[in-house]
Structures are given as structure tokens and as C-alpha cells.
Amino acid sequence: MNPNSVSGAMQTQSPKPTSYVFQIENLSVYYGSNPAVKNVSLKVPARQITAFIGPSGCGKSTVLRCFNRTNDLIPGARVEGKLTYHGKDLYAADVDPVSVRRHIGMVFQKPNPFPKSIYDNVAYGPRVLGMKVDLDEVVETSLKRAALWDEVKDKLKESGQSLSGGQQQRLCIARALAVQPDVILMDEPCSALDPISTRRIEELMKELEQDYTIIIVTHNMQQASRVSDMTAFFSVELVGSNRVGELVEFDKTEVIFNNPSKEATRDYVEGRFG
């Protein structure tokens, strides 16, 4: 949305609209000495929705966590290969992971509102980042964008944890939007939600796509085919006794779902996996 406000080490002053937000080359992630995913290469286009699909344990979340460097927080995790964000190496020595996360928001599989009021949940990011904004306004617009405003506008003082699961997840999305990120990462955001809430979040993603780059991990094939523009299919391979994840195919969503070039992809999207 505003990569020109990028500060510190993440100086990407030129608002040159790179058509690719992220470019990954030969990315491998290790937990301890075991590789979890190997040799992933892909390009994430700007202002589009990219979906990651694949069987459990193939490393979708692992790759997703590389984009905002939350893998750094896991003891023993190590990243190899190249990952650029607007052309800048995300894992360069002079990059501050904290300021990376200011630009790349994340929504988790399990809703995780803070034990604070709804208002304070949304205002948390702007406050902690010291953003000079009108908080009331930010809270309202963020909640509106997350399609939650009408349900909570009369109880902003109530705890965010008193909401239903679906409302909590939308609150977490609003919380992520409040800091005006450039990219939003979503790790199975609908896995704990009912079909109606899921539908609302999908609609929301389509709307957000105008301004944000979104990467979503999902186990729901229909969801991937409904919302995403690009789809990456990951799979696991047995190397010795290790299960190592790999990127099998990455293409436009129509291609992945209708005319994939790999047999494994076709089997998976048609539900003939394993």
C-alpha cells in the first residue's frame, strides 16, 4: 500500500511498482539439521492472491514464515537460499526483522486476539509502532475493512476474546490491517470457521486484493480455486527417513486446477492423493 513509508534498513524509497513483491530462489529451510523444505523457487506477484496448497507437513507454513522472518523466532531454524522483497534481500545482514514485520502482516491459523478490548486490539499495532494517526479513525476503517464493524461498533470496550471464533479471526485481520501493511500472510485463516464466516473472509480477501498482496495457505481446494490468482502446490518427498517438502508446481490458479503439467498436482487437486 505504501512502501514509500518504509524506514530504516528496509529502505525501498522508489515506489517503482515491481510486479513481483517476493522472489524466492532455491530456498531451503532447516529445523536443526533436518531440512523441512528444499529448493523452493517462486515469484509472488503484487496485488494478487497467491495460494499455497499441499498435504500436511509439506512445509507451507514454513515457507510462509520466511516471508516475515518469523522463522527467526524458532530456535534452531535456519534459512538458506535467496528471498527478495521488492528486490531487497530479506535475509541480508543489515535487515532488521522487526521492521520487516511492520510491512508484512500475518494472520494465524488459530485466532489470537490479545486479552484486551476490541478497540485496543486493533489499536495495538499503530500504538506500538508509534504511528501518528487518528486511532479512532484507524480502528473504525480497519474494522470496516474486515467486515466486523457493524457487529462490534457498540461494544468496542469489550474484550476481543469474548467474540466468536469467526469474529475473532476478522478482528485479527483488522488488527493486521491497522498497521497498513504491504503484504498480508494468512496461514489457514478459515480452518476454524464455519462456512458463512469462511465466505465472508474470502470476500474480504478479494476486496483487500485491490490494495494488498496476499499469500494464503489453505487445505481447502475450493477456497484456493475461488480466491487465488496464483497457486503453488507443495508435496513431501521421502529422503532417507526424512520427509522433505518441495514445490511441485507453481502457476496460474486456472492452470493448476484445470490443466496442471504434473501428474502429482492433478491427483492432489482432484482428491486422488495418497
Binding site: 518469523t70 514485520r101 500475518m106 486479552p115 485479527c172 493486521a176
Partner: protein
């Protein structure tokens, strides 16, 4: 599903009536047993309070509420008052908390927030739990023979440079003092705060922290703005528990407070606490003096009760805030 097919046509098959089988007897027996035990505990508490008050009655009748504001303890003239001891009890506990709260919370944060690898945090955590097991009389001895000589130069320097400040004033500090008691008390109660706060932090969902970090908060911002508020009720209860322990601690107070029977605002000077007073005097006390000591005991119980009730109110407050 042929033989195992559930055929509920005849209602005998469905068994939901009360039965007196062995597990039920055990169940009922257990409930009654715990009921009896808990009533017994309650009666015991009431008995102790009643009998102490009864024994304190002569002193209560003689001195009334003046007991609380009199700062003389004179067995020869039979004049008794516990103002210095109330001051000493409250001050030592409070000052001990001032040291122990940041130390305990800081330790808990260090042990839970991935600041150091497991092979460092596990032994440290274990050592902290072990401090609780040190008998207070040993800590008292340590206070007399190690801590007092060690901190004397520091105390003197503080006293020297800040004489104008009442809490540090008075003649050059020599040995026992209220501040020494506070220091040893803080060593005793810090592990309580650290271990309860630590388990509070450990019980908080991990994704709470990840949520804050993912928004671009630094590690410290995450701890200060998410983890500590989320664990506040646990932290507050740990502080209250520690405070209770400090108020009631006897051995350390009797050994290193100096047992001075006059009121002394300065923490650098000898003082005394209610517990220390009782422990050091009951042996050779006369009739009215025993009664006065009982009265002091009642005062201590009321003090502890008030602190606990206040604590309960504070905790409720925080819990409401969280919901």
C-alpha cells in the same frame, strides 16, 4: 453392525437409573470425607482465632486500641504497645517486595522468553525453586555472618550521603536493621514470585506472543504490552502470596532486625517486627505480657487478613479487566 446392532426397543436395555455399585459408594464416600475434612479445617482456624483472642483479652481490656499507637514495651511497668512492630512488619514486607517483584518478574521473563538456551534456563529454574527449601534460620545465620558485614560499607555510604532522607537517616549503621531483614526476606520471597509468574507465562498461548511480534513489536514491547498484561492476575497473586510469606516470617526478623523496642523511621537502624517480638519474648514473659503478646498476634492476624482481602479485591479487578 449385525450382532452389535443397538436395539433399544425394550427399555430395560437403557440403564440410566441410580445404582449403588462400588464406584458410586466410593464417589459418595469421597465427597463426604472431603466435606468433613474441610469443615474440620475451618473449625481449626476459628478455634485458633478465638483462643488467641481469649488469651489476649486481659491486654485488650487494659490497653484497648491505644495498644496500636503506643511505642513502648515495658514489662517492668507493664506498659505495652506495638506501634514500632507494626511499622517494622509493614515496612520490611513492603521493601522486600520492592526488591523481589522486579527481580522475580525479570527472572520469570528470562526463563520463559527464549533469551537463553535450555541448558542454561533449566538449571537456573531449578536452583530458584531450591531457594524456597532453605530453612529461614539458615538464612538468618547467613544474614548475620555474611550479609551484614558485606553490606555495611554500602549502608554507611548511603546513610552518609542521604542523611536528610528519613528512611536512610540516623547514626552510622552497624549491624542489624530493618533493611537487612528486608533484603533477606526478598531473597526468600523472590522465588515465589519467579516461579508462579513463570508458570503463568508458560501457560499463556504461544500464538499471543507471535501475534504481537508479527505486528512489528520488538521482543520487549511484546513482553511489556502483551505478555505481562495477559499474565497480570497470575503475577498479582504471586506478589500477594509472597507478601503473606514476608508478613509472617519470624526467624529472620527475630535474628537480624535488632529487636529494638522503640520506633525508628530509618530502615538503617535496628527495629522489630510483630513476629520477631513474639518469638523473642514469649519465653520469659509475665502474665500480662503473655496476654500482650497474644494481642500482638491478633493484630498480626488481622493485618494479614486485611492484606489478603485487599489482594483478593485487586486480583478480582484485574480479572475483570481481562474479560
Amino acid at each position: 453392525m449385525t450382532s452389535a446392532a443397538r436395539d433399544f426397543e425394550s427399555s430395560q436395555d437403557i440403564n440410566i437409573e441410580k445404582k449403588m455399585d462400588s464406584s458410586r459408594i466410593l464417589d459418595v464416600g469421597f465427597v463426604r470425607l472431603t466435606l468433613v475434612l474441610s469443615i474440620f479445617a475451618g473449625i481449626l482456624l476459628i478455634l485458633v482465632i478465638l483462643q488467641t483472642t481469649e488469651a489476649a483479652l486481659p491486654a485488650i481490656q487494659q490497653f484497648g486500641l491505644e495498644f496500636l499507637v503506643t511505642s513502648r514495651w515495658n514489662p517492668v511497668e507493664n506498659i505495652f504497645g506495638v506501634l514500632p512492630q507494626i511499622y517494622g512488619t509493614l515496612m520490611t514486607s513492603l521493601v522486600a517486595l520492592v526488591f523481589a517483584v522486579p527481580l522475580g518478574i525479570g527472572t520469570a521473563i528470562f526463563l520463559t522468553e527464549d533469551f537463553a538456551p535450555k541448558w542454561i534456563t533449566v538449571p537456573i529454574g531449578f536452583a530458584i525453586e531450591l531457594i524456597v527449601a532453605i530453612p529461614s534460620v539458615v538464612l538468618g545465620l547467613w544474614g548475620i555472618f555474611v550479609l551484614i558485614p558485606a553490606v555495611r560499607p554500602i549502608f554507611r555510604a548511603i546513610n552518609e550521603s542521604m542523611k536528610w532522607f528519613p528512611l536512610f537517616g540516623g547514626p552510622a549503621p552497624r549491624g542489624p536493621s530493618l533493611l537487612i531483614v528486608s533484603l533477606v526476606l526478598s531473597i526468600m520471597i523472590c522465588p515465589i514470585i519467579a516461579s508462579i509468574t513463570r508458570s503463568t507465562f508458560e501457560s499463556l498461548p504461544r500464538n499471543l506472543r507471535d501475534g504481537a511480534l508479527a505486528l512489528g513489536a520488538t521482543r520487549w514491547e511484546t513482553i511489556l504490552t502483551v505478555m505481562i498484561p495477559a499474565g497480570l492476575s497470575g503475577i498479582v497473586s504471586s506478589i500477594m502470596l509472597a507478601m503473606g510469606r514476608a508478613l509472617g516470617e519470624t526467624m529472620v526478623a527475630a535474628m537480624i532486625s535488632g529487636n529494638a523496642n522503640r520506633i525508628n523511621i530509618s530502615l538503617m537502624q535496628p527495629g522489630s517486627t510483630i513476629t520477631g517480638l513474639i518469638a523473642s519474648q514469649f519465653g520469659e514473659a509475665g502474665r500480662l505480657q503473655v496476654s500482650a503478646l497474644m494481642y500482638a498476634g491478633v493484630v498480626l492476624m488481622i493485618l494479614t487478613l486485611v492484606v489478603n482481602v485487599l489482594a483478593e479485591i485487586v486480583i478480582r479487578r484485574f480479572q475483570n479487566l481481562e474479560q
